[in-house]
Every structure is written in structure tokens, then in C-alpha cells.
Symmetry: C3
Subunit: 208 residues, 3 copies
Amino acid sequence: MNILAQDFSLIVWWLDMIGTFVFGLSGGMLAVRRQLDLFGVIVLATAAATAGGAIRDMAIGDQPAAVLRDPSYLIAACAAGLTAFLCHRLIERADKPVMLLDALGLGVFAVAGTSKALAFGLHPAAASLIGVMTAVGGGVVRDILVTEIPRVLREEIYAVAAVAGTLIVTLGAHLGWPPVVTASAGVTATFALRVLSVRLGLRIPRAR
Amino acid sequence: MNILAQDFSLIVWWLDMIGTFVFGLSGGMLAVRRQLDLFGVIVLATAAATAGGAIRDMAIGDQPAAVLRDPSYLIAACAAGLTAFLCHRLIERADKPVMLLDALGLGVFAVAGTSKALAFGLHPAAASLIGVMTAVGGGVVRDILVTEIPRVLREEIYAVAAVAGTLIVTLGAHLGWPPVVTASAGVTATFALRVLSVRLGLRIPRAR
Amino acid sequence: MNILAQDFSLIVWWLDMIGTFVFGLSGGMLAVRRQLDLFGVIVLATAAATAGGAIRDMAIGDQPAAVLRDPSYLIAACAAGLTAFLCHRLIERADKPVMLLDALGLGVFAVAGTSKALAFGLHPAAASLIGVMTAVGGGVVRDILVTEIPRVLREEIYAVAAVAGTLIVTLGAHLGWPPVVTASAGVTATFALRVLSVRLGLRIPRAR
């Protein structure tokens, strides 16, 4: 049992690192496309990878923020920036794998953010808000830094997919599901909804 | 006396909800005008309605932020977004009532922010800064999210009206006025200054 | 020894005020150039002068933020805004002294931010991140408020110069140098690197 719990928290750590790296990659690629220099690429990668979690920790009052306590986040973010700088042509050709990894990162961060907020005693609606902010916050800061309207506001089912994951986490916590089940279900729901919406071109209605 | 105090805090809560709803409406209307989808409308409404108070709480160290503790804020903000999505034509025609409600929200948030900062032991200048940030912060985040220069920087007497309210609150606290009097005077001052400046087209000087 | 320590902390306070004033000037000048009114000039000056330190304090959990505890910061920031409003023509002609003061502010804020983060027990990489955020955060918020891509992302060796200062501070803390020596070396390194890079037109490579 103890071993299972350890395994689980190791899985969560690895998923967290994957999410950080993938979101860092998205920041780095945007910086390359906007022709920033190497340092700008690393800054934008770090912002995209860590801003969501940092805002979460400041809002719920878990300070110093996690990104300041565990150096792994910064290492993963800088590695992502460097990778984007060096391999941007390769990455640009790998459109589909990047989208899949991004959807995975979205799910991981939504689940991690919601779980942390619930652990801090927030009510379900607030925990869901925090989960969505964790998942999309990095992308929002990334886009604002280069004066683009955040992608999450512009198109497709992105934040809605994150919402699905956060709802499953709050439901699972309410019903007392084992953490591994809840987390897996949440990540899967966000991932599947995001990937399906891209494949099928699903949209949310706009006001006329 | 006790009953009076209860009545007062109920009034403050209702004013807070009105401010949240009205600022949410402003975010939702901007989102509709920029043709965001339903989810984007709700995101921008929530940001406009709650960012000012969230920044205030993070800066003074009252965490988890109030918006995360009392679900009413999120409900009011989402309701405002939905209202903007469904009734945007109606609202656009009601230019004047929206301006009046917005001026009321400005006054309420300026007074609430300043009072809270003073209760946390900040000196008057800091409390006034926090009051202004509470009142205009939501609008700043709203405009930045769609890459517009924040309206508070662009035109008319907006933040200045909020400053007037915050100064009255710090003055009232210094002179020991009853909270109901101080709050009413602060809201009234901000509201009147804002409405008058729109009516009379008052401007602040610019550098040549 | 005690007198030395007192002298040192007085020097740090004065350097902090110079940094605040100079960054406030940069915000005020940008606001004048974008034809904001007097209040907008003061808002942008205050944001540029204090946002870096405020973000630092929220991230590490030192609340209320320093800018809310010591009124001197707000006074220096407002004075800078007023100066920019009244004397913008004079200042525009004094290109070189402003650049030198800005480089000094960059060094002071990088050193102050890193030192504070280390004092809060953060590991060196996190302290360096906080130092850079303290030094460049105000400028980032300033530029975003008028929807420009932050200068720190666009050009020249700016954040890199700040990084140099933060590395020296973490090195000095590790090796047990006297605080005065560490701080002086850090400020000097950032200042010299920044000024030299402007003089010699040094650049960081971009991705092709």
C-alpha cells in the first residue's frame, strides 16, 4: 500500500515534469517564431511552464511557490526553452505529437491544481477555478508577453477540456474514490476531450 | 446596535455582489464585442469581476483570496457572463444604466478594498493604493487579456474617482467616523465624481 | 562593525530609492510618449517602479508586500511620475544619464531581490529567478499595460545583465563574503555588463 502511494506520487511528479516541459516547449516555440533572442526564448519558456502553478500558489497562499522550492521545475522549463531554440524546425514538423503532449500537460496541470486546492480546503467551485487557472495560466502569460490575445480565449475547446478534468477530481474527492483512480480519470477526460475537439473541429457557440 | 452592524455587513455584501456582477457584465460585453465564444465570455467576465479583489488579497496576504472562499463571487461573475452572452443587444442599448452601475461598482470596490487594507494595518497611502487596485484591477486584467490598453489609462476621470473614495475612507478611519457613514460617503464621492465627469466631459491635463 | 552595518543598510535603502525613482521615470516617460493624462503617467510610473518588488514578495510570501509597508516607495514612484510629466523634454535630451541610472536600478533590484530570496531560504536557482523578476518585473508590467512587447524580451543584454548580478550574490552567499562586498560586486557586474552591451552593441544569438 505504502509502495503504491510512493509509486503514485512518483508518477505525479513525472507527469508534472512532462507538463512543465511541454508547456515550456510551447513558450519557446512562440518565442522563436517571434524572433526573440536565446534569453527571450528561455524567459518565455519559463513563463509558459511555471506561471500557472505560481499564480495558483499565490492565490491559495502556499508560499514560497512550488516552482521556487523544487529546482526541477526550473530545470525542465529551461531545458524546454533550449530545446525549442535548437530544434525548432524539427518540432514544427512534429505538429501532432506536440498537440498530444500539450493535451496531456493540460490534463495533468488541471488535475494537479484542483487536487492541491482541495487539499487546501477550498470548496469545489474554487478548486475547479484554481485547476483551470493552473492549466491555462502559463499559456495566458505566454501570449500576453508577446501581446497576443491568449489562445485559450480565441479558439477551440481548450479551457473547457480542463474544466472537465477539474470536475472529475472534485467529484472523485466527494465520493471518496482512490486518488490514483480520480487522477487518472481526470487526466484522461481532459486529454480525450481536447484531442477529440481538435480532430473533430468541435466549437463552442458564439454570440451573434 | 448589533442589529445595525448586521444590517450594515449585509448591505456591504449586497453592494459587493452588485459590483462583482456589474464588472462581470463589462467583461462579458467586451468578450462578445471581440467575438469570443461562450466560454471566453465567461472567462473574461470572471476576470473582470474578481481580479481586482484577488490581486488585493495576494498583495496584503489574505489567502486563500476571498473569491476562493465565498462561492457567491464566482456565481455572480458567471451569471454576469451568461447575461452578457444572452442579452448583449439589450445591454448595449442600455448604455446609461450600465455606466451608472459601473460607477457604483467602482465606488463599492474602492471603499471595500481600502477598508480591508486598513483592517490589515496598512498605512493610509498603501490602503489607498490597494483600494484603487481593487476598483480598477479587474478592468485592467480584462483589457489586457484582449490586448487593449486598459481604459483606466486611456480616458476620463476613472481611477481619480476611485482615489476620492479611498481618501474619504482613510480620513473617516482616522477621525473615527462610524463605518456606515464612512462607507456611504466614500461610495457616494466616487460615484458622483465618476458620473459628473462623464456628464460634463471632465478631463485631466496631458503633457504637451 | 555595528556602525558599518547601519551605514550599509542605509546605503541599500538609498540605492533602493534610486532604483524605484529611476524605474518610475521610465514608466512616466513611456506614459507621456503614449499621451496618457497626468493620472495615467503616475499609474504607469508606480507600476514600473513597484511591480517587480510586489511580485517578488507575493511569490516568496512576504506579505503585506514591502511597497505597502514603507511609504517611501510610493512617494519615490509618484515623484518620478510627476517629474516625467513636468520635465519630459529635459529628460528626453538626457538620454545617456537616464540609461546609466536605469542600469544602476537594474543592478540594485537584482541584488536586493536575490538577497531577500536567499534570506527566505530559497535555493540558488530560485533566488536568481526572483532577483531577475524583481529587476525586470516592473518594466514588463509597464510595457504590457500599454500593449508593447516587453523591452526585456525584444533587445540587447538586459535580463542577462541582471542574471550576472544574481549569480554573484548567490556565489557570495555560498562562499560567505561580507554582504557589503557581495552587494557591491553584484551591482557593479550588472551595471557594467548592461552599460558595456549598450556601448558595444552586444547581442545574444537568435534562432534562424
